[in-house]
């Protein structure tokens, strides 16, 4: 009931420099949020009487930031198995595995993250050849239903070094296994009746998982392909062409080496800017990856895959700027671009009338360490700037503590 009351609120954020992302910044702008949605954005917005005003004079206002990676809600304590929900233990092809029901709305990570202006995050499965279905969640809500923005947003497949053991120990085996799975899914789609009558060869994966791939093979649901080595990225692009997939690359550490090819294919890339430690999976890994991809015209989405520190998405974005992205590109890469890539740009990613009221008032440049998120609105509701960590601080700021 309290939620309903708050949703009915009209909130006017006034006096700020507004970065709508969908258009140029607005000096001394107003963002009006009504019934959970953005109602108006501009320099000359009429504020209805009775609206709750947030004076943001001198502040910066952006859409809530979207983390294009990680496992928010799916992991509480990395080392404690009982609190991890992001990987299905047994299935090499887990295309039917949708992570949504593993999400813990009470996770302590959620408030820790959202009070720093990250309001939406991907919750992605990991492991295996085909990890499962990723979902997009808002970082507020008492139930999974209230949190989920879109489910699924994509199916995750891996073409990196880690997955080789599940495909005979060879990169070529990984590619062949994927093709067999896709081929069998198409075959199964055509011959469900034969399958039912046991008049088909054994399938490369359980029927439910093949069925999970149908929307991917129809080009409706994106396939997130995790690939880092240049040749693996090229394999992903090749398979994408063969099956006419709607592809998203993730990681893509050596993507900068073939940025033009990725741009020509029209494939967006999820990048973690601060990855630069070389391995045999990506000897060419470097900080400039995000910038060079963006410069070539690739749609870049930034991610912070350390779920506990998803709040450092801001630091990732700032460093992406340090290493060559424009500031505007970086802001887009944590707002509108992920919304577009995950198919929710009609509701998320920019400050435009009709979109969800995911709005952050910052004390300054959101990528700078000096800056704090001073007001965080998720679906038009201001969330309290409290977390387990703020409570620990309050308890121990004076020693000994008052237990």
């Amino acid at each position: 009931m309290i939620g309903a009351l708050l949703l009915a609120q009209t909130i006017a954020v006034t006096g700020a420099t507004v970065y709508p992302v969908s258009g140029p910044k607005i000096a001394n702008g107003t963002v009006l949020i009504r019934d959970g949605n953005i109602a108006a954005v501009g320099a000359n917005v009429t504020i209805p009487s009775g609206a709750t005003r947030i004076d943001a004079t001198g502040k910066w206002v952006t859409p809530g930031l979207i983390d294009g990676g990680g496992q928010m809600g799916l992991v509480e304590i990395s080392a404690v198995r009982g609190t991890r929900e992001g990987a299905l233990a047994s299935d090499t092809v887990a295309a039917a595995f949708n992570v949504a029901e593993g999400i813990n709305p009470a996770s302590a990570l959620i408030p820790v993250t959202r009070i720093e202006g990250i309001t939406t995050a991907l919750a992605a499965p990991d492991g295996h050849l085909i990890s499962g279905q990723a979902v997009l969640i808002d970082l507020d809500g008492a139930t999974i239903e209230q949190m989920v923005v879109k489910s699924p947003v994509a199916i995750v497949a891996r073409l990196n070094e880690d997955v080789k053991d599940e495909a005979g120990g060879s990169r070529a085996g990984v590619a062949q296994r994927l093709r067999r799975v896709f081929g069998d899914a198409l075959e199964y789609a055509r011959r469900k009746g034969d399958y039912g009558r046991a008049q088909m060869q054994p399938l490369a994966a359980p029927a439910a998982d093949l069925e999970g791939l149908f929307p991917v093979l129809r080009g409706e649901l994106p396939l997130i392909a995790v690939a880092n080595r240049k040749s693996d990225i090229e394999t992903a692009l090749r398979i994408g062409r063969e099956y006419k997939l709607k592809l998203i690359l993730a990681g893509a550490a050596e993507g900068w080496e073939i940025a033009d090819e990725i741009a020509r294919a029209g494939v967006p890339v999820l990048v973690e800017p601060l990855d630069n430690i070389p391995s045999y999976d990506a000897l060419g890994i470097r900080y400039e990856n995000a910038a060079l991809l963006a410069k070539a015209g690739v749609k870049v989405v930034l991610m912070e895959t350390d779920t506990h520190n998803a709040r450092n998405l801001r630091q990732q974005a700032g460093n992406a700027v340090s290493y060559g992205m424009t500031w505007d590109q970086a802001l887009r890469a944590v707002t509108l671009s992920p919304a577009e890539v995950f198919g929710v740009a009609d509701r998320y990613g920019s400050l435009e009338p009709g979109k969800e009221g995911d709005v952050v008032v910052w004390s300054g440049d959101p990528f700078e360490f000096t800056t704090a998120a001073e007001h965080v609105l998720i679906r038009g509701k201001e969330v309290p700037l409290r977390s387990r960590q703020t409570e620990l601080f309050e308890r121990y700021k004076k020693l000994p503590p008052d237990y």
Binding site: E76, I77, S78, A79, V80, A108, L109, L274, D275, N276, I277, P278, S279, Y280, L283, G284, H308, N309, R311, N312, Q315, G318, N319, V321, S322, F367, E368, F369, T370, A372, Q389, L392, F393, Y396, K397, L399, P400, P401
Partner: protein
């Protein structure tokens, strides 16, 4: 290449000779039976030599000294690896033949020091072949030395140098109760680890509390499998070391009879008991750190720094009272249960309590931006009403880690006479947009972002 080691450092070297005998090489007495023992010979000594480089004057920069001063439009000069002058622009004269660096708009700080690194011992590309950081064959392996695992061609080293790092403590991992000796290294390109060893630096002893050792050995149905097992393990080892030390100290007094047999495991621990090594303990939980302080009191040694120490803010008063430092992250938390209570104000609260926090990395990625990590921790403190100064935050990555390594009289601040470990930043080092543009290590321009001739590459990177 010049071959004159630092005088200051040479004087303090060899303080940690294995048998604990402070042998002087100044005179040459006849070789005695004692001196023919292996323990009396050089124990893997540093062969570090300062690289020749012309004198340097950096002008028109904001100089952050880590001594309480931030000098706008200041200058710094150094020669032969030693800082000559720091101050207002006009007060610093250029030595003959100096390279003049115009650093208008830029910032200058001391070289950044990381108290907790696994560079070289867990080298990239990260295959099993380079996994040399944890000798997980026994819970007490004080006989192993990180330098004997260290690979100078680790391609992570140039990345860290480009982040302004000039000195690291390379540590064994935390799988054992007592993991072995650390190596304190100048972060310079070199063929051998001995060419990187910080001359005169004492060894550290790596120990670990909590989940890691009890997990590693508990899984093998072997001690320790509990936290009380951990404590019993440390106590047993130091009790043996006490007896070992007594035997050697007694023999060293008069050299009568057969010398005791060397035991490398106990030899290292005996050095700790003699106060010749710095104890560096991986420990997360506040209550466990308190237990470790009790252990140190039982055996009469000091703990120099608790590493990770994510709960140190809960006992910051106790740690400050004990003069035990903490080496912490800005914000890491949650990857295991003992890390669940990490908060961003940890360093600031330790500072407020009168402690000596350092920001460490424990990561080949994080080590490249300790300035950013210090910035996060500083602003987190300030936003919470803890008045951390920029100088204090700078000391978290310079002077305080220098103290943790016992090198605070040598490096960690910009003062005349100190080693010329100097970083020029493109802007305020506490901004996310700042990058190290020049890194001088002992007066040598080891890295220049704008000059490929000063961008070291390891063998590993060639021809790929």
């Amino acid at each position: 290449m010049r071959s004159t080691p630092h005088l200051l450092l040479a004087l303090s070297s060899a303080c940690a000779s294995a048998g604990g005998r402070a042998t002087s090489k100044a005179t040459a007495p006849p070789v005695t039976a004692a001196e023919s023992l292996s323990v009396s010979r050089g124990q893997y000594p540093s062969t570090y030599r300062r690289h020749a480089y012309p004198p340097v004057v950096i002008r028109n920069a904001t100089i952050m000294t880590a001594t309480g001063r931030e000098i706008p439009n200041g200058a710094i000069s150094f020669k032969d690896g030693r800082i000559l002058a720091v101050g207002e622009g006009g007060a610093v004269t250029a030595p003959a033949g100096a390279v003049i660096v115009d650093a208008a708009g830029k910032y200058v700080t001391p070289g950044v020091i990381d108290t907790h690194s696994h560079l070289g011992v867990y080298a990239a590309p990260g295959t099993d072949a380079e996994s040399d950081g944890n000798e997980l064959t026994s819970p007490v392996t004080s006989e192993v030395w990180a330098e004997h695992s260290f690979w100078p061609q680790d391609p992570q080293i140039p990345l860290a140098i480009a982040g302004g790092i000039t000195t690291i403590e390379a540590l064994p991992g935390s799988g054992n109760l007592i993991g072995g000796r650390s190596a304190v290294l100048k972060l310079v390109p070199a063929r051998t680890v001995q060419e990187m060893k910080f001359p005169g630096a004492r060894y550290g002893l790596k120990m670990a509390c909590g989940e890691n050792p009890k997990r590693v050995y508990g899984q093998r149905h072997q001690a320790p499998s509990t936290r009380m097992g951990n404590m019993a393990g440390y106590r047993g080892a130091f009790a043996q070391a006490e007896a070992y030390r007594r035997k050697w100290d007694s023999w060293n007094r008069d050299h009568r009879g057969e010398p005791p047999e060397r035991n490398l495991r106990l030899e290292t621990l005996a050095e700790v008991l003699r106060g010749n090594m710095y104890v560096q303990i991986h420990c997360y939980r506040a209550d466990e750190m308190a237990q470790m302080l009790d252990l140190a009191r039982e055996f009469g040694f000091k703990i120099r720094s608790f590493h990770h120490a994510v709960e140190s803010y809960k006992i910051a008063d106790l740690l400050a009272h004990d003069s035990t430092s903490v080496s912490v992250w800005a914000d890491w938390w949650g990857f295991k249960e003992e890390a669940m209570d990490g908060i961003q104000q940890n360093a600031a609260l330790n500072q407020q309590a009168g402690g000596r926090p350092a920001i460490h990395s424990d990561s080949p990625s994080g080590i490249q931006r300790l300035n950013q990590e210090a910035a996060k921790a500083m602003y987190a403190g300030q936003r919470s009403g803890i008045p951390i100064t920029r100088d204090q935050a700078l000391r978290w990555i310079t002077a305080n880690p220098a103290w943790v390594l016992g090198l605070d009289s040598v490096v960690g601040t910009l003062e005349p006479g100190k080693m010329a470990d100097v970083v020029v930043w493109s802007g305020d080092p506490f901004s996310v947009y700042a990058k190290a543009v020049q890194v001088y290590n002992d007066g040598w321009l080891v890295y220049d972002r704008n000059d490929p001739a000063h961008q070291p590459r390891t063998d590993f990177e060639l021809g790929r």
